[in-house]
């Protein structure tokens, strides 16, 4: 396995009495598509929120490429190469699809401060925006306001905005939630392709076990803020503790692959 991109050291978080992250020591390697799973309330979203700066870290440390980023504000983490998408669609509603994707491109290339030059003359930015639109398959909706998109297209845009920040490490929080099967396959193919390109390392939070087991090189199972199991899909499937936690409906989901 490659170099660890991001490591955490005794990362902890509490909401009142509820512990959503307990002394987490994790590391994410470059090029390994990792999935984070766990029952509701396991601390998946909290972990992403902590790593990307959405939530202030209460205790512990985060390092990215050897540099400590525990207290770094969000936009600086994004500049370093950590970005995310959101579970609930969280784009710029009144802006067009192209404008949505253009904002991270502008910010990354340092062109967003220019108050006089017309946007239409930023050809390099426009071209790059096109590339990202193609990657998520939205070039046809270029000039549609985000509010007018279908739910599936909005999800694609959500991922597109995150991709346009050209992150080294990208967290996708339930990217396929609420998508129909066709859209889902399209998005997953995209993600797989992008992961193969190797510029971006993906970390995905998912509920859908089909997605998780088909996509990941590594799976982290969280439960009540702690790592229950961490390994390859085969290791996770074989783990007794995971079976225990996933009693009930989810078991069939999780172990369907064995039966097939």
């Amino acid at each position: 396995m490659g170099e660890p991109l991001l490591t955490t050291e005794k990362l902890s978080n509490h909401f009142g009495m509820v512990c959503t992250a307990r002394d987490l020591d994790l590391s994410f390697e470059q090029g390994v598509l990792t999935s984070i799973i766990g029952p509701n309330g396991a601390g998946k979203s909290t972990l992403i929120n902590l790593l990307t700066g959405h939530l202030p870290v209460q205790a512990g440390k985060i390092r990215f490429q050897g540099r400590e980023i525990t207290r770094l504000p969000i936009h600086k983490r994004v500049r370093l190469g950590i970005c995310r998408s959101f579970q609930v669609v969280n784009v710029f509603p009144e802006l067009t699809v192209a404008q949505n994707v253009m904002i991270p491109v502008l910010a990354r290339t340092g062109r967003a401060w220019n108050p006089i030059r017309s946007l239409s003359r930023e050809t390099a930015v426009t071209r790059e925006t096109e590339v990202f639109l193609e990657k998520v398959g939205l070039q046809g909706e270029r000039d549609t306001p985000a509010t007018a998109l279908s739910h599936g297209d909005l999800r694609l845009l959500e991922v597109g905005v995150a991709l346009a920040a050209a992150p080294t490490l990208l967290f996708l929080d339930e990217p396929t939630a609420g998508m129909n099967p066709v859209e889902r396959v399209r998005l997953l193919d995209n993600i797989r392709e992008l992961a193969c390109e190797g510029r971006t390392t993906f970390v995905v939070v998912e509920h859908d076990m089909d997605v998780v087991f088909s996509l990941s090189g590594r799976i982290i199972v969280l439960h009540r803020g702690e790592v229950l199991c961490d390994g390859t899909p085969a290791q996770v499937r074989a783990d007794a503790k995971v079976r225990e936690v996933y009693l009930g409906d989810d078991v069939s989901d999780l172990f369907r692959y064995e039966e097939e």
Binding site: H75, V78, R79, V91, M102, A107, W113, P115, I116
Partner: protein, 321 residues
């Protein structure tokens, strides 16, 4: 609107504005100047409200900083109005940096309230520091010396007609600048902050710094309008910093429409005209103006420009009813 049509419309309006002092009476020329001053104030302010989604109730303070900045500069340093305007704008920028730094970490109602409080701080400072500012009498005796380019060329602005073109120059410059800003990458980043500040951060935009930048920028336009008013009226008054004056650009932007460049300009014209008309019929213009305001808020929230363009959109596409 297509770019050519827009440019043509802008050229026509500019020509019409150039013709005003030759065709209209003294009072109309004066009103046109007031409209342009309020227009500069509002169009700059709308970068903050319409473009970035931040509601400030303290921009009167920067307007006053412009006026008093020009006044002090004229009284103590140099009478050249160009330098005076530059001094006024600089004063407004400095004050905006100071106030903005404390305010931009807040948004929405908290931001509105803080800017209001700081605006009133400036008001009470001006009001109380009588020895320096003249207190409630204001700073009087501001002169309109000729515009001088290092003694090589002198342009007098003493008469109202001459001064009209001085204001028109800055008005056109401001509208052009704000137009460019709205079309620029910076403008798009601001719109992104308005639409979704959190996502902007995750797009790599340092949101607070952008907010501060646009706050200072809009403060600079307020300072420009203030310094020009000081030249027009030959004085600077503490009322300029009062919160009721800070409410004017808000009002004018809503009146005309927040989402366009022309909205605040149309709103300024309507506001000044309406005030004149109401004042002609009654002493109680505040009462009537309040009532008009209620009607607008409860009935025409798109503003005049928004309501009209919605109307024309509907007219153009009758099938959608």
């Amino acid at each position: 609107m297509k770019a050519e049509a827009r440019n043509a419309a802008a050229a026509v309006v500019l020509l019409a504005l150039c013709a005003v002092p030759f065709l209209a009476g003294k009072f109309t020329v004066y009103l046109a100047m007031r409209i342009m001053l309020l227009g500069i104030f509002a169009v700059g302010y709308n970068l903050l409200l319409g473009q970035t989604g931040l509601l400030s109730f303290g921009h009167g303070a920067f307007y006053a900083a412009g006026a008093y900045g020009l006044g002090f500069f004229g009284l103590h340093v140099s009478g050249n109005p160009l330098f005076g305007v530059a001094a006024g704008v600089a004063a407004a920028i400095l004050l905006a940096i100071l106030v903005g730094y404390l305010c931009v970490r807040h948004t929405e109602i908290y931001f509105a309230m803080l800017t209001l409080a700081f605006g009133m701080m400036v008001f009470s400072l001006i009001w109380n520091a009588r020895e320096i500012t003249g207190g409630d009498d204001g700073l009087i005796g501001i002169m309109r010396s000729p515009v001088s380019f290092f003694g090589l060329l002198e342009i007098p602005i003493g008469t109202d007609r001459q001064f009209y073109f001085f204001i028109l120059f800055f008005f056109a410059l401001s509208v052009w600048a704000v137009h460019r800003i709205r079309q620029s990458p910076f403008g798009l980043a601001l719109a992104g902050i308005r639409e979704n500040a959190r996502r902007s951060e995750f797009a790599g935009v340092p949101v607070r710094r952008y907010r501060l930048a646009v706050f200072v920028l809009s403060g600079a336009f307020a300072g420009l309008a203030g310094s020009l008013e000081a030249l027009l009226e030959s004085n600077a008054r503490p009322f300029m910093a009062h919160w009721t004056h800070s409410a004017e650009p808000v009002l004018v932007s809503l009146l005309g429409g927040l989402s366009s460049l022309t909205g605040p300009l149309v709103g300024s014209a309507i506001f000044i005209a309406m005030r004149e008309i109401i004042q002609r019929f009654t002493e109680n213009w505040m009462l009537w103006f309040g009532i008009v305001l209620l009607v607008i808020i409860l009935g025409f929230r798109g503003g005049v420009v928004g309501t009209l363009s919605a109307f024309f959109r509907k007219a153009a596409a009758p099938g959608e009813g």
